[in-house]
C-alpha cells in the first residue's frame, strides 16, 4: 500500500510500499523510528488521514472480503470502531475534553448498535471495570481532565473495545505514560489477546515492548516494510542492516559501555526519498546496486521476509 500526501512543498510519500498480513489472535508489531510512516500506515487502514492532501495511491486493505482502501467511505465507517478499533498515542488529546468518559464510550456503543441508555451505560461500566479502573460507575461521569494519564489511556482502550472489535490497532499506547502505567497497559493488552483472541497491531519504536507482546514484527523504514518476521527471529537473527543496527542500539545491562551505539544519519525526508533502497545513505553494507534499484521484499527463510540487495531473489545471502 502507498499513501501519499500532496502538499505545496511536494509529495510526501509517508507510506510507500507497506505490505503485511494479520492473522486472528496475533499481535503484529510495526516498528520504526519517528517519521518512518508507521502511524500513517495505521491511519490508512481505516482511511483516517486527512484527505486532501492524503491519498492512498495504490494498494488494498483487505478485511473480511472488503477492500477498505477503495470501498465507499460509508462502508469504512461501519468497520471503524466496530470491527477495527484504534487506540491513540496520547489519550490526553485524543479524548474530547468537553464530554464525560461515559458519554464518549456510550457514543461509540450507540454508533454501532441499538442500546437503551441504561444498557449502554452498564456496558461502558463493565468495560472500565475490565480495564481495572477503580470506581467505574464514578469514572463514567468524569471528564478527561479529572483523570490521571494512566486512567485516560485505559479508558481509551475501554472505548476501543466497546464494540468487541476483532482487530485493535494500538498506536504507541504507552508513549505518553510513565513506567508503571506502561506495565499495566501492556498487561491489559496481553490479556486481551489471550482472553478475547483478538488481533492486535501494535505500533512502537520501543523494541523491548515488541519482545514483550509481539508475535511477529514488521520493521518499517522510509515508508516501506524492510523486514518482517517472528519477533524471536527479528531480535536474535535480524537480516536487514537497518534492523541489525536497531538491535545493536539496544542497551545491554550486562556490558559496560561508555557510549551508546547509534545508527549514523537521519531518517529520510519523505518528500525527498533517496533513490534505490531508501536506507542506502546510512547503510554500512551499501553496494552500487542499492543506489539505483529498490530491493523487493523476498522470502529468506519460511516466514522471514526482507527487502535488501544482500539477498538474491531466491532469498539466499550473496554478499
Amino acid at each position: 500500500m502507498k499513501t501519499w500526501f500532496y502538499t505545496r512543498r511536494g509529495i510526501v510519500k509517508a507510506v510507500n510500499g507497506v505490505d503485511f498480513d494479520l492473522r486472528q489472535g496475533e499481535c503484529l508489531c510495526l516498528v520504526g523510528e519517528s517519521g518512518c510512516g508507521k502511524s500513517v500506515t495505521a491511519l490508512s487502514l481505516l482511511r483516517l488521514f486527512d484527505s486532501p492532501p492524503g491519498k492512498i495511491v495504490s494498494g488494498k486493505v483487505m478485511f473480511a472480503g472488503i477492500d477498505l482502501a477503495n470501498c465507499p467511505v460509508e462502508q469504512v465507517r461501519r468497520v471503524r470502531g466496530k470491527e477495527i478499533a484504534m487506540v491513540f498515542q496520547n489519550a490526553q488529546s485524543a479524548l474530547n475534553p468537553v464530554f464525560t468518559i461515559g458519554d464518549q464510550i456510550m457514543e461509540q456503543i450507540n454508533a454501532h448498535g441499538r442500546y437503551n441508555r441504561a444498557d449502554a451505560r452498564k456496558k461502558a461500566r463493565l468495560l472500565l471495570e475490565e480495564m481495572n479502573i477503580p470506581q467505574a460507575e464514578n469514572a463514567l461521569n468524569m471528564y478527561p481532565h479529572q483523570m490521571s494519564g494512566g486512567m485516560k489511556q485505559r479508558a481509551m482502550i475501554a472505548m476501543g473495545l466497546s464494540c468487541d472489535p476483532s482487530i485493535l490497532i494500538a498506536d504507541e499506547p504507552t508513549t505518553a505514560v510513565d513506567v508503571t502505567i506502561r506495565a499495566q497497559i501492556m498487561f491489559i493488552l496481553q490479556e486481551l489477546k489471550t482472553r478475547r483472541n483478538m488481533s492486535i497491531i501494535f505500533i512502537t519504536h520501543d523494541l523491548s515492548l515488541v519482545r514483550e507482546i509481539g508475535d511477529r514484527a514488521a520493521v518499517i523504514y522510509g515508508g516501506r516494510v524492510v523486514e518482517i518476521a517472528p519477533v524471536e527471529t527479528i531480535l536474535t537473527d535480524p537480516a536487514h542492516p537497518y534492523t541489525r543496527g536497531l538491535i545493536a542500539c539496544l542497551p545491554d545491562i550486562s556490558t559496560n559501555l561508555k557510549r551508546l551505539p547509534s545508527i549514523p544519519g537521519n531518517t529520510p525526508n519523505p518528500i525527498d526519498l533517496p533513490e534505490g533502497c531508501t536506507f542506502h545513505p546510512r547503510c554500512r553494507d551499501v553496494m552500487d546496486v542499492c543506489r539505483s534499484t529498490e530491493p523487493a521484499l523476498v522470502n529468506i527463510a519460511g516466514v522471514h521476509k526482507v527487502a535488501c540487495h544482500l539477498y538474491d531473489n531466491a532469498g539466499a545471502f550473496i554478499a
Binding site: 465507517r77 496520547n90 464530554f99 454508533a111
Partner: protein
C-alpha cells in the same frame, strides 16, 4: 459557585454606581441646562426670563449645590424613584417602559439572525476549506465587516423603500409588536444592525472550527465510526463554541450601546436609542442617566452570564 455569583453581583453594583456618578457629573459640568428649552419659549412670549428660570430651578431642585443634588438623586434612586423627564413631561420609568420593547425586539432579532447565519456559514466555510464555497463566504464576510451599519441602513432604505417600494421608509408604530407587519418592517433594520456581526461571526466560527478540526480527538471520533455529521456537529462544534461565546457576548455589549442606537435613528424606530438621543439634546438628565444605567446593567449581566455559560460549556473551567 454561589459565593462567586454573589461576589460578581456586588462588583456589578459598585461598577454601576461608579458609572452613574461619572454620568451625573459629566452632565452637570456642561454649559447647558434643561431650563434652556423653557426659556426659549418663554422669551418669545415676552415674559421675565430670570424669574421663570429661578422658578423652574427651584421646582426641580437645580438651584441646590451639585453635591446635594447628587445625594438627593441617589436617595430617590434607592427608593426606586428614577425621576422626571423634562422633555417628555412624564416619569422616566414610564417613558422607558413604553419604548424599551422597540430596542429589545431589534437587538434580539438582529442577534439571532447574526448568530444562526454567521455560525452556519462559518461551519460551512471551515468544512469546505479552500473551496469555492469557502472563498465566496470569505469575500461576503469581508465586505460585511467593512460596511458600517448605518450606511447599510441608508442604502437599504434607498433601494428597497425609495426605488423599489417594497418597504416603508419609516418604522410604523401603529402595528402591534406581535404582528407579521411589524416583523416585516423590521427586516431592513435587522439587516442593517446584524450584517456586520454576522460577517464577524462567520470569520470567528471558521477559524475556531478549523482550529478544532485539526485536533486529535476528531480523528478519535472518526475512528469510533461516527458519522461525519456527528463528528463536525458534536465533537468539533462543541469545542469551537467556547471562543465564539466570548465574541458573541462581547458584541452584544456593543450592539446594545452602539449599533442599535444608530439603527434606531436611521430607521426612526422609537426605541431607547432614540429616547436617549433626544434626551441628550434636551439636557434631560434623568433620562440619560437611567438609559445609561440600564445599558450598564445589561452589559454587566451579559458578562456574568458569559462566565456562567463557560462553566457549562467547558467542564475544565470552574470558579471557586
Amino acid at each position: 459557585m454561589r459565593s462567586y455569583i454573589i461576589k460578581r453581583l456586588l462588583y456589578s453594583v459598585i461598577i454601576a454606581w461608579g458609572i452613574l456618578t461619572i454620568t451625573f457629573i459629566l452632565l452637570r459640568v456642561g454649559p447647558t441646562s434643561p431650563v434652556d428649552r423653557y426659556i426659549l419659549n418663554i422669551a418669545a412670549k415676552g415674559q421675565d426670563v430670570e424669574s421663570v428660570r429661578q422658578a423652574i430651578e427651584a421646582r426641580y431642585g437645580l438651584d441646590k449645590p451639585i453635591i446635594e443634588q447628587y445625594l438627593l438623586y441617589m436617595g430617590n434612586l434607592l427608593q426606586g424613584k428614577w425621576g422626571w423627564s423634562f422633555s417628555a413631561s412624564q416619569p422616566v420609568m414610564e417613558l422607558i417602559g413604553s419604548h424599551w420593547i422597540y430596542s429589545f425586539q431589534l437587538i434580539l432579532l438582529a442577534t439571532i439572525f447574526a448568530i444562526i447565519l454567521g455560525v452556519g456559514l462559518g461551519i460551512l466555510s471551515a468544512v469546505n476549506q479552500n473551496t469555492k464555497i469557502d472563498y465566496a463566504t470569505s469575500i461576503f464576510s469581508f465586505i460585511g465587516i467593512s460596511i458600517p451599519g448605518f450606511w447599510l441602513g441608508l442604502m437599504l432604505i434607498l433601494v428597497f423603500a425609495v426605488y423599489l417600494g417594497v418597504f416603508k421608509t419609516f418604522y410604523d408604530t401603529s402595528y402591534p409588536i406581535w404582528s407579521l407587519e411589524n416583523l416585516r418592517q423590521l427586516i431592513m433594520p435587522v439587516l442593517a444592525l446584524g450584517t456586520g456581526e454576522l460577517a464577524g461571526y462567520v470569520r470567528y466560527t471558521r477559524s475556531a472550527m478549523l482550529d478544532n478540526l485539526r485536533k486529535e480527538f476528531v480523528t478519535t471520533a472518526r475512528a469510533k465510526g461516527l458519522s461525519e455529521r456527528t463528528v463536525i456537529g458534536k465533537h468539533v462544534l462543541r469545542n469551537a463554541v467556547l471562543p465564539l461565546v466570548t465574541i458573541i457576548m462581547f458584541d452584544l455589549g456593543s450592539i446594545v450601546f452602539g449599533g442599535a442606537y444608530l439603527t434606531e435613528i436611521v430607521f426612526g424606530i422609537p426605541g431607547l436609542g432614540q429616547v436617549s438621543f433626544n434626551a441628550i439634546f434636551a439636557n434631560d438628565y434623568a433620562v440619560v442617566i437611567a438609559v445609561t444605567l440600564i445599558g450598564t446593567f445589561m452589559v454587566l449581566f451579559i458578562n456574568l452570564a458569559t462566565d456562567l455559560i463557560y462553566t457549562y460549556l467547558d467542564p475544565r473551567i470552574r470558579y471557586d
